[in-house]
């Protein structure tokens, strides 16, 4: 059971609270992403798991072994936690060759030379860098450095893999490719992975579960689709895509199957039906989230969703989609239909 458990983990810098009461349980082989805007505490959380930062409150255990407990002053230093980590800057040591970089975790563990050569070459083959083994590290491109960093993190089969925004320094095309490759390797190796990013599309594409953080606290934990469909609050909703948020009042409320609730709502000049996680009494004020891709531009009444009319002010061509911005006396909205209207 290579799971990572965080119980009430906090980190204070003086008066400043960087991370507050984080509870998280990562199962064996699971790919969990910490997602949030910069300064939300996601990197600090990862660094506490790595042992690069000491938590001022709570307990962290890896593989059923407590590695850091603020109450009983247990603190296992980074090097004894048997982790692999990919840094945002890749942290490729410039004075070593590719081979030496990848061999480092094995060398400090005093493995025999032939085993080191075997495993380094196998891992380099895994990231398709075997032909670069003797290259000096500074002579690599960003994508190649990233592969080396991943190889180095994988070479000694760590219990847990930590990744701190590993794709953020790559260009858009390479980012997609590396992300896919990375997920494929992780799935096959079945390695427990904690991944930090501020890019929501990256988080959705890669993760089994996403942890949305803001101002040092966990806002929501769930599968990507769950978070996308049913955000727990406005912050989470705002973080995924560019939804339209409409203030409205509840007119009626009814339970439907699956524990969800159907609300009849009315805004200024529009009314309709939507889903909610909790019951709201009639007359209560709510915010209705409408994702642009769910909006259909039509000329007549058809289904029982929300409906309002307005004039399209302008459209923006985005390649696969077209973004339409409408103005009216009613709520401003943006629609991004995936098909032509």
């Amino acid at each position: 059971m290579s799971d990572v458990v965080l119980e009430k983990v906090s980190r204070h810098f003086g008066d400043f609270v960087a991370v507050s009461d984080v509870d998280l349980r990562v199962a064996q082989g699971e790919f969990v992403t910490l997602l949030g805007p910069s300064g939300c505490g996601k990197t600090t959380t990862l660094r506490m798991v790595a042992g690069l930062e000491q938590n001022t409150g709570g307990r962290i255990s890896i593989d059923n072994e407590i590695v850091s407990d603020a109450a009983s002053r247990v603190f296992v230093p980074s090097e004894r936690r048997r982790l692999g980590m990919v840094f945002q800057s890749y942290a490729i040591w410039p004075h070593m060759t590719v081979f030496e970089n990848v061999a480092y975790p094995l060398r400090v563990r005093r493995r025999p030379a032939d085993e080191i050569r075997d495993r380094v070459l196998k891992t380099l083959r895994l990231v398709e860098m075997e032909s670069f083994a003797e290259r000096p590290a500074p002579a690599l491109s960003g994508g190649q450095q990233q592969r080396v960093a991943i190889a180095r993190a994988l070479v000694f089969e760590p219990k847990v893999l930590l990744l701190d925004e590993p794709l953020s320094n790559l260009d858009a095309k390479l980012r997609l490719q590396m992300g896919d490759e990375f997920r494929a390797i992780q799935k096959r190796l079945g390695m427990t992975t904690l991944y930090v990013t501020h890019d929501q599309s990256e988080a959705m594409a890669l993760s089994d579960r996403v942890v949305v953080m803001d101002r040092g606290r966990i806002q929501q934990v769930g599968a990507p689709e769950e978070i996308y469909r049913y955000p727990a609050n406005r912050t989470v909703a705002g973080f995924f895509g560019t939804p339209n948020l409409l203030p409205a009042n509840v007119e009626a409320c009814a339970r439907i199957d699956g524990g969800r609730v159907r609300l009849d709502v009315a805004g200024s000049g529009w009314r309709g039906r939507c889903e909610a996680a909790i019951e709201v009494p009639a007359g209560g004020a709510v915010t209705v989230m409408v994702r642009p891709e769910d909006i259909r531009i039509s000329d007549g009444a058809d289904d029982d969703g929300l409906r309002w009319s307005g004039r399209i002010a302008h459209t923006i061509f985005r390649g696969a989609t077209i973004r339409a911005v409408s103005t009216s006396t009613r709520p401003p909205s943006a629609a991004t239909p995936s098909a032509t209207p």
Partner: protein
């Protein structure tokens, strides 16, 4: 890649799963070990910097020479307030100002030529222009003493031979001579400090000014120079401080002409007066330190809030100005500077070493006797051995100490790191001669069980103390360039603190260590002012041997030794440029 990922993964999974258990004890991590280490380091630094400083205070209040019984009084300070000393103070400040101003102008001009124009052979010229900085000042002082001697100097002889007159227009034993000699060092010093600022400046800032309609000249004055101002101010103040600390130039060219500055006054009151006036010398040491401290305050005041950020580390290729025909004029200017500051003095030493008597240059006076004499003299070999031993040991220990202090102050958040950093910085405001006086008192007052006084170790300790601010600076900037990720990544992947230090940090900063090492070695080889106070029989270093020979009038032997030292300088500088520059771009 995803297609074949499965095969590759299965290979990896099949790898042997045995794991090593050879964990190193993480010494750096345990609080107790850290505390002991920090305490030892603080004590060592206190002995090297705080101790001589406090001994200065003690000595300035003590009526008799070090080691003798006496009373405490304020006579030393009372003696300072004389009219003569006002002149000494004015001389000190005035000479330093007079040499700094023209030096800055020449240095900016040289930096601009070599960094921002298409002058031919810029790479070689840069090496030549900076060479004077690395030559021990005592050598050029002696060479210029011969070149510019009013009676028999080579320059005057040339002038008389060309014009046919009997006048001797050049006399280096004057204010002009002191300033002239100091400038030869300030110009390359300033150049080294500012040239990278010129080189690293983002050219788009200048291009923007050009696009707004400014001419080249206007751009230079309103943008380039303005952006350089913080770097330039810092360098100028540093150069001014060095002028106040300077010992060789006023000793060689000022003292014979009756021009005294504070450093030579300290030297004279200990070495030239009978009985030596230690209390006075110590008290006046405080005056020069107060002066230095005021300048440092001024520097902090001026530079606070100024950003050096326009000069970034990015690899810009600076816009090079096309000079057309004028590039040969700038080339000639650089070459002329090299000829005057290096070729003339070295040529004089070369000529001086082969003629029987300095000043009488006839074919039948040619001889190799001086070489024989020097190589047959025990004194020379002794001094040479001492200088080499002190140079190698001193440079290694100084850089080691600097590396540790810099690591703690830059890379850790340990308690007490600021104290250690401040202590290591303290010698920065102590000129060599002042530190020499402080250690003189300090060693004399040590218990007799610690016989440092009068040994070579006294010099070693003084050299380490003098070199520490530089070594900390060099190593700090080396550490500051390394991202913390490099260190942390090693820890996460299983290396202990010690292993990380060895494989990552030391491996990465050692080129800077080597650069610093050579600089400190140069510093030790040229050091005169502290050595002349702390040497005794059997612990003479080369610079002291030279000074003694010069005082005895053996200018010919001085030339021979000078040439040998010059050869060493060139070899070391060549090694530094050829070998070390491949690893780092610094200096």
């Amino acid at each position: 890649m995803t297609l074949s990922a499965d095969n590759r993964v299965s290979e990896l999974v099949a790898a042997p799963r045995s794991r090593g258990t050879a964990w190193w004890p993480s010494l750096g991590g345990t609080p107790a070990g850290r505390f002991i280490g920090m305490t030892l380091l603080a004590l060592l630094l206190a002995f090297l910097t705080v101790y001589p400083l406090s001994m200065l205070l003690y000595g300035s209040l003590h009526s008799t020479p070090p080691g003798a019984a006496g009373v405490f009084n304020l006579d030393g300070y009372r003696d300072i307030f004389t009219q003569r000393n006002l002149l000494v103070l004015l001389n000190t400040v005035g000479i330093s100002l007079a040499k700094t101003a023209p030096s800055v102008i020449v240095a900016v001009f040289l930096a601009w030529i070599l960094a921002r124009t298409d002058t031919p052979f810029r790479g070689s010229l840069e090496v030549l222009v900076t060479l004077p900085f690395f030559i021990p000042p005592i050598l050029t002082a002696m060479a210029w003493g011969m070149l510019g001697n009013p009676q028999v100097g080579l320059l005057n002889q040339l002038f008389q031979w060309i014009t046919g007159s009997t006048a001797s227009p050049i006399n280096v034993y004057s204010y002009g001579g002191v300033i002239w000699h100091m400038s030869q060092y300030s110009i390359p010093f300033l150049f080294l400090l500012i040239v990278d600022a010129f080189r690293a400046m983002d050219p788009s800032l200048e291009e923007a000014a050009r696009m707004c309609g400014a001419t080249r000249l206007r751009t230079f004055f309103t943008v380039t120079l303005k952006l350089m101002l913080p770097a330039l101010t810092g360098a100028t103040i540093l150069s001014f401080m060095r002028g106040i600390e300077n010992f060789e130039s006023p000793l060689f060219f000022g003292s014979p002409a009756g021009i005294h500055v504070i450093t030579t006054d300290i030297y004279d009151s200990i070495n030239q007066r009978s009985p030596p006036q230690y209390q006075y010398a110590t008290a006046i040491s405080f005056v020069i330190m107060a002066l230095m401290f005021l300048i440092i305050l001024l520097q902090w005041g001026l530079l606070r809030g100024r950003s050096f950020q326009t000069v970034t580390g990015k690899g810009y290729s600076p816009a090079v100005m096309k000079l057309g025909k004028w590039r040969w004029a700038t080339f000639a200017f650089c070459l002329l500077f090299f000829v005057i500051t290096v070729v003339l003095p070295v040529g004089q030493l070369l000529i001086g070493s082969f003629f029987k008597f300095f000043g009488f240059y006839d074919w039948d006076m040619l001889t190799l006797d001086h070489y024989r004499e020097v190589f047959g003299s025990d004194e020379f070999w002794h001094g040479f051995g001492n200088t080499m031993l002190l140079g190698f040991m001193g440079a290694t220990l100084t850089m080691g100490l600097g590396g540790i202090v810099a690591y703690i102050s830059v890379r850790t958040r340990w308690r007490g790191r600021r104290l250690i950093d401040a202590m290591a910085w303290l010698p920065w405001m102590m000129p060599g001669i002042v530190l020499g006086v402080g250690f003189l008192w300090g060693f004399a007052l040590l218990p007799h069980a610690i016989p440092i006084y009068g040994t070579i170790w006294a010099l070693l300790l003084a050299y380490i103390s003098l070199g520490t601010p530089l070594s900390v600076r060099v190593m700090s900037s080396a550490y500051a360039q390394l991202s913390f990720d490099l260190e942390e990544c090693s820890r996460v992947h299983g290396a202990s603190w010690l292993q990380t230090m060895r494989h990552i940090m030391i491996a990465l900063v050692w080129p800077s260590f080597a650069v610093g090492w050579v600089l400190v070695f140069f510093g030790i080889m040229r050091e005169l002012s502290a050595s002349v106070l702390l040497y005794s029989v059997n612990s003479e270093v080369l610079s002291v041997v030279l000074l003694k020979l010069w005082a005895n009038g053996s200018a010919e032997q001085v030339s021979v030794i000078g040439l040998l030292m010059m050869a060493m300088v060139i070899v070391f500088r060549w090694v530094q440029l050829r070998v070390i520059r491949k690893w780092v771009g610094a200096l």
